[in-house]
Amino acid sequence: MSFRVVLSCCVAALAACGERAPTPEPITRPAPRFEPVIQRALAATAPPTEPPPAGEVDAEELSGLIAMFAGGDARFTEAAESSVAELSGDVAAALFALASDGADEERAAAIGLLGARGDAAAAARLVDLLRDGEPAWIRAHAAWRLGETDADQTVPALLLRLKYERDHEAVLWIADTLARFGNFAGAAVIERLAVDPATPAALQRSARAKQLELGELAQPPDGLGVVAAWERALLDVPERSRAFEHAVWSWIARLEEYQLRGVDDARFLLERSDPSVAKLLGQALLEPDRYVRVHAAQCLARMGPRGRAAEAQLVALLGDPLAAHEAAAALGRLDTATAEAELRRELQAGGVEVQVTAARALRWRLERAAPETRELLVELAADATSLPELRQAALESLAYLGELDREHLTALLDFAEDERFEADTTIRALRFWLGEHAPETLIAEFDALAPEGGEVVTWDARRRSRRARAALVREHLDALVGA
C-alpha cells in the first residue's frame, strides 16, 4: 500500500469521525410536469362562434345617426347612442369605414357610435383605430370611447399602445381608459404629464383633472398614491370576462416566438397587467415550451407584488434547470416571506447559478428580510471558498438590507474595483447603501463620479469611474462604518 493510499485513508477516517457543521442536503426539487396549458386555455376561453351579422346596414339611417350624434345636442346624442345599438347588419364595419375617412366631425361621431354600440365587433374596430388611426386625435378618441364600453378584452391592446403611442393626448386617454377597466399601469404617465413643465398647458390641465379622477377610481389606501398602491398590488381588481382571459392567453402564446419582437410586445403588456393575469402566467409556467416558461417568469418578476398569485408555480419552477434562474429572480420580486424562505433554501443548497440569483433576489426584502436571511448572507459573504460572484451577490444584498459592517463594505469595494467582475450591480448596491447611511455631500460626490454620458460610454470610462467611486468611499470608511 503506498503512502498516498494511507494518507487518503486517514483523511477519510478523520472526515467521518470529526465534529463537523452539518452541510445542508442538496435540494431535490422535482421537475415540474409540463402540459399544454395555453392550447387548453385558448380553447376553453374562445368566444362562441356567432353567425355573421344578418342583413345590410341601412346607410341612410346610419348617416342620420351620425348627424344626430355630431350635432352636439345631448338629447339627440343620447337618442343616436341608443338607436345605434338596435341597428342590424355589420354596423361595426360601416362605422369603422366612416371613422376612417371623411370630415372630422363625422369621423368623431362614428367613433362615438362605435363606443355606444360597444359589442365585441365594435370594440375590435375601436382597437383597430386605436392602433392605426390617423391623425393622432383619432387614436385618442378611440381610446376614450373604449372606456365607455364593457369590453375589458381590449385591455391588452390598450396596454400595448402605451409602448408605441407618441402622442401625449392619446396616451392620456389610453391611461384613463385603462384605469376605468381597473388597470392603473398608465397612472405614472398621467402623473408625469401633470407635473412636467414641458407638457402643453391645456394637456397639463387635462392630466391634472385625470389625476384627481384616478384617485377616486382607484381608492388607494390612505397615504399612498395610485402608482405606489398599484405596484404593491393594493388596489381592487374587477372580475374579468372570459373574453379578457382569451385575449391574455393569446398574448401569453406569443411568449414562445423565436424572434423577440413579438415576445417583447407580449412581455410589455403582460407585466403591466393586473394581479388576475399573474394567475394565468403562473399556469403558463407549466407550458412545455421553455421560452414560454422563461418569459412568463420574467413577466412575473417585472410585475413584482402584482405577481403573487403565481408564487406556488414559481417555487415549482425552481425544479426546472432551464428556468430556475428566472424563477428565483421572480420570487425575489414578489417580496413575500414564503418566497424568501424558498430563496434561502436555494442559497443553502441549490445549483451555483441559482444561488447567485437567489442571493441577489433577496435584496428586495429590504428591511422586511428575516434574521435567518441576514445570517445566511453574512455567512456567504465571509466564505472565501465560495464562488466569488456568490460572495459579491451576498454582499450587494447585505447593502440593500442595511447590514454592511466595515469588513463587508471593504469587500464590496474590492469587488467594485476588481476588473474580473461585473461591477454595475455592485455600484448600484453601494449607491443604495450610501443613500441610507452617508451624508448628502458624499452622495453628491459619488454621483458626480458616474461615467460621463453621451451616446457611448467606453469600458475604460466605466473602469475609471468605478475605481474613483470605490476610492471615494474608502476615504470615508471610518466615518461611514467606524474604525
Binding site: 503506498s2 498516498r4 493510499v5 467521518a16 408605441y164 447567485v356 451616446e455
Partner: protein, 329 residues
C-alpha cells in the same frame, strides 16, 4: 465505541477501497474530465486559440461599449442571452440561447461553444486522454450552431437565402478560416467580421460611371455571406457623396446622404428595412448640378446605428470608412 466512531471506521474502509480503485494504475484507465469553470483554464493547453479568442468580438461581447449603449447596460435583458450565454449544448443546438448568471465578463467564451452538459468538451477529435476529454461533435461545424445567437438578428436566415450554401460556403468559411489556408493548421478563433476593415472591404464593392445627365453610383454586396450590414438593427451603413470641389473639406459640412442600410429597431415602426441583401446591387443616379465637375463617394459602416447629431451626421468621426471613390468627367 460510539456510533459515530463505528461509522467512521466503515467510511474509512470504504475510503481505502475507493483510493485503491482510483490509484491502482491500470493501463488505459481514464480519470474523470477536469471540471472547467472558466475559459481561462483552457489557456494552458490551447494558448494560440485562447489568444485569438481573447482578442475577438466574442471575448468582448459583454464589455464592448456598443452593446452596452444599445442595450442600455443590459437593462434590455434579452441581449444577455447572447452576450453572456449558457452553453450551446446545454440549451440545445439551434435553440435560441438562454442567459448565464456567472462569468459574464467572459462574454461568449470557450465553454459556451465547447462544454458538454454530460462532461467533457465538444471538439473536432475524440481524445479520452486529454484533460478536457474532447469528443468529436459535428454540430460545431454547422450554421445551426451559430444560429442560436446569430439568427436572432436573422443572419443565418440571410445566408440560407443566398447562393452561398449551394457553393459550400458557410459561417466557418469566412469567420473561422484555416490559419495558413490548410486544414492541418486548424481554424482561427479570432472570428473576424464587422470589426475588421479588411473583411468589410471584401464584403462590399463601390463603383460608378458617367451616365446621361449625371453619375451612376453602384453599391454591391459581393462577399458578405448575409445582408450588409447584418445584425439588423444594431448596425448601419451609410453612403455619402459630395462635389469633387469639396474634397478635403470637413465632412460634416459637405457630405450629402445617398443611402442608408439598416433594419429598424422594434420600436422604430416608421422605418423600413433597407439592408443590402446578399448579392444585391443597388444603383443611384446623381443628377445634382453641383455634381457636374465630378463627385467623391464614400461608403461608411457603423457599429451603432445612431449619429450623435442626426441632422448633421459626421461619418468621418463616427463611422468606419470602407470604400471611397472619385468620379471625374
Amino acid at each position: 465505541m460510539s456510533v459515530r466512531g463505528a461509522l467512521g471506521l466503515v467510511v474509512a474502509g470504504l475510503g481505502v477501497w475507493l483510493v485503491v480503485l482510483v490509484f491502482r494504475g491500470e493501463p488505459g484507465a481514464a480519470a474523470p474530465p477536469a471540471a472547467f469553470t472558466s475559459s481561462a483554464q483552457c489557456k494552458e493547453c490551447h494558448p494560440q486559440v485562447y489568444a485569438e479568442w481573447e482578442a475577438s468580438p466574442h471575448a468582448n461581447a459583454w464589455v464592448n461599449e456598443a452593446v452596452r449603449s444599445l442595450s442600455n447596460d443590459f437593462a434590455n435583458q434579452d441581449c444577455i442571452a447572447c452576450h453572456a450565454p449558457r452553453g450551446v449544448f446545454d440549451v440545445g443546438v439551434g435553440e435560441r440561447m438562454l442567459p448565464r448568471n456567472v462569468r459574464r465578463m467572459e462574454g461568449v467564451d470557450c465553454l459556451t461553444c465547447h462544454q458538454l452538459p454530460e462532461g467533457g468538451m465538444a471538439g473536432t477529435i475524440t481524445d479520452p486522454r486529454a484533460a478536457c476529454r474532447p469528443v468529436e461533435r459535428i454540430e460545431l461545424t454547422r450554421p445551426e450552431f451559430c444560429a442560436g445567437c446569430h439568427n436572432q438578428h436573422k443572419t443565418v436566415d440571410q445566408w440560407r437565402g443566398s447562393k452561398w450554401p449551394d457553393q459550400d460556403q458557410d459561417c466557418r468559411s469566412c469567420h473561422m478560416p484555416f490559419r495558413d489556408g490548410t486544414p492541418e493548421s486548424g481554424r482561427s478563433h479570432a472570428m473576424p467580421g464587422g470589426t475588421s476593415l479588411d473583411f468589410l472591404q471584401r464584403a462590399i464593392a463601390l463603383s460608378g460611371e458617367r451616365v446621361d445627365g449625371g453619375w451612376l453610383v453602384r453599391l454591391a454586396n459581393v462577399g458578405a455571406g448575409h445582408a450588409f450590414p447584418t445584425d439588423e438593427r444594431s448596425r448601419a451603413s451609410d453612403v455619402f457623396w459630395r462635389p469633387i470641389g469639396d474634397l478635403g473639406k470637413p465632412g460634416v459640412e459637405t457630405w450629402r446622404h445617398l443611402d442608408r442600410m439598416r433594419s429598424p429597431y422594434r420600436t422604430e415602426t416608421d422605418l423600413e428595412d433597407t439592408l443590402l441583401q446578399a448579392h444585391e446591387v443597388r444603383e443611384f443616379t446623381i443628377t445634382d448640378p453641383d455634381a457636374a465637375d465630378g463627385i467623391e463617394v464614400a461608403w461608411f459602416y457603423k457599429r451603432s446605428p445612431y449619429w450623435a447629431d442626426a441632422e448633421h451626421p459626421d461619418p468621418d468621426r463616427e463611422a468606419t470608412l470602407v470604400h471611397r471613390l472619385e468620379l471625374r468627367p
